[in-house]
Structure formats: C-alpha cells, structure tokens
Symmetry: C2
Subunit: 188 residues, 2 copies
C-alpha cells in the first residue's frame, strides 16, 4: 500500500517515458504538464536521491567537459511496479484553495475599482493560459501525431482548455456585472 508524495510518482512517470536527468525532468514538466503540475529543483534533486536509495530508480553518471556531471536516471523494475500500482489507485482529490475567490468573497470591503482590477488580472491570466494550451495542442498535433501517448496528452489538454474557458467566461461576466454602476444590489 504505497501512496506517498505524488511528486515521486510524477518523477517516476516521466522517467518511464525515457531516462533523464533532474534538469531534463524539470524542462519536461515545463513544456508538457505545466498546466496541471509543477516541480522545483529543490524538490526534484533530493527526491531523485531518495528514489535511488529505495532502488526505484538507477543512476548513471555521464562525465562532461566544462559542465557538472550529468546524472541520468532510469526506472528499475521496482520503480515501474510502484508507478503502475500508484497509477491504478483511486485519485486523491487535490486541495482546493483560491486566493482570488477568498478576496472576492470579502469584496464589499475592497476599495472601489479594486475588485475589477483583480478580476481583470485574472481574465488576462486565463487568456494567456488558453493561448499556451492552444500552442501546445498545435505543437503536439504537428510533431507527435503518431505518439502512442498522444491521446492521453490531449485528454489533459482538453480539460485545461475547458476549465480555462469557463474561468474566462466567468471573469468576463463578472466584470460586466460589476462595471455597470446601477447594479449595486440585485439586478432588476
């Protein structure tokens, strides 16, 4: 009965695609799953050491000229097994915390215009996210059309897009609602 940090399974999963260094893992995350997952070096490197100690991962060191040694990690059989086991387990629902909504909840105490600024910033962020998702989608369709994992990647992308669109819609609606002045109380 595993079920540990999640980060570890993210790392194991990525290493199941191909052997990589910690640095590569970070880059990979940033260009593929960044819309729903992030890791910092300060988490990745110590984690890789722990995984090595636990024999879930194997380290091969490549010496390089002018650069630090490069540690390339690959999954062991135990690592793959642990990963697969985690994969099938029920999903732990993730923590819900939205600082934006928290502020809006108390929005009556905001100075005039400030609520709209918060919403507007959010709208911009969501728009940017949507653009990034579209970019990723096009990239995948162009360069990885035959990749066996494509279907699953698209699945996650699609969720990102739908949710971002919903958030965007909400931001727009709400801005309209709050920018119209005669609207302090319920609409009539």
């Amino acid at each position: 009965m595993p079920s540990r940090s999640s980060s570890r399974y993210a790392v194991l999963g990525i290493l199941s695609l191909e052997p990589m260094s910690g640095y590569d893992i970070k880059k990979f995350i940033e260009t593929s799953v960044a819309h729903f997952w992030r890791e910092s070096y300060g988490n990745i490197y110590p984690l890789l050491n722990r995984l090595t100690d636990e024999k879930l991962v194997r380290r091969r060191t490549e010496r390089q000229k002018g650069k630090p040694d490069r540690h390339v990690y690959s999954l062991t059989d135990r690592g793959r097994a642990a990963f697969l086991e985690w994969l099938g387990e029920p999903v732990k629902e993730d923590a819900v915390r939205s600082e934006l909504l928290l502020k809006l909840f108390f929005g009556r105490h905001l100075e005039p215009g400030r609520l709209e600024v918060h919403l507007e910033e959010y709208r911009v962020v969501q728009t940017r996210i949507l653009g990034a998702l579209r970019g990723t989608r096009e990239m995948l369709e162009a360069h990885h059309a035959e990749h066996p994992d494509l279907r699953y990647w698209m699945l996650t992308l699609r969720r990102g897009e739908l949710v971002a669109r919903a958030r965007l819609q909400w931001a727009r609606e709400s801005l309209q609602d709050f920018r119209r002045p005669g609207n302090k109380e319920k609409e009539s």
Copy 2:
C-alpha cells in the same frame, strides 16, 4: 508590505463578519467557502494564538458548564487594517496540481477500464459539487436575500458552478470517447 500565509487572512476576514471561536470559524468555512477554501483545526488554533500575540485579534473567554472554555475572537483595529491591506494586494495565483490529470497523462499504462473508473469517479464528485453549490445558492437566496455581502458570495458561487460544469462536461465527453472501443487512435 505584509503578504503572509493566506490562512491568516481567511481567518481575519471571517472574524470581520462577526466575532467567533476557532470552532465556529471551522464551521463557517465548511458551510460557506468550502468550495474554494478549507482549514483544519490544527492550523486554526495555533494561528489564532499567533494572531492574538500580534494584536491583530482579541480573545475573550466565555466559561461554560460541562464544556471547555469558549474563546471568542474579534478583530482589533490593527487586524482590520492588515486584512484590508491584504485584500487590495494583487492576488497570488494558487498552486496548480491535479493528481487526476497526472494519472491520465500516463493513462496508456493503466489497466483496461481503469482510466474510465478514474473519470467516472471524477464525474460523480463534480456532480455532487454542483449539487452542493446549487443548494448553497438556494439557501442564500432564501435566507440572506438582503445581506450586504450576498452579491460577492454569489460571485464566488457562480465561479464554482461554471468550473464544475466545465469539468463535468469534460468528464462526460472523455468517458464517451474512451468507452467507444474502435477509438484507440485518433477519431476518423
């Protein structure tokens, strides 16, 4: 330039509505902002002590028969000021982490049917959330129609609904997509 833990501002904000005990705060959170914010007692109680030390909050003790003393906390002027300052500051975007999407991303390695199970569970959860949101909305409209904060509470509810609907739609779509067998590769 404050900007500390967020939890502290959640607590200060709630106390700005009316004086309460730690226990009350927890209850309040569960019945009003649970869809985007949660706190545990293990966080609330120590936090209230710290806030008291920092004079952001004042403690009044009510003795009770057969129950532990009840500590009722209220905002001090400094507390209110700190809260208002935080309220106007730019929103820190919250951590993105979805264990579900992480598993789906690696979905090719799931045993047959397991992916659908994950999706189906998610669908159920989102449906339940939607129901709860509707319940809250109706309760608010019935019992707090005149509350000066209603507009802001509705704003957050609306976001919850739109996002939950988007997630639901995605879950349904994806289930259809994956339950249809002749569909292992791209649709044709």
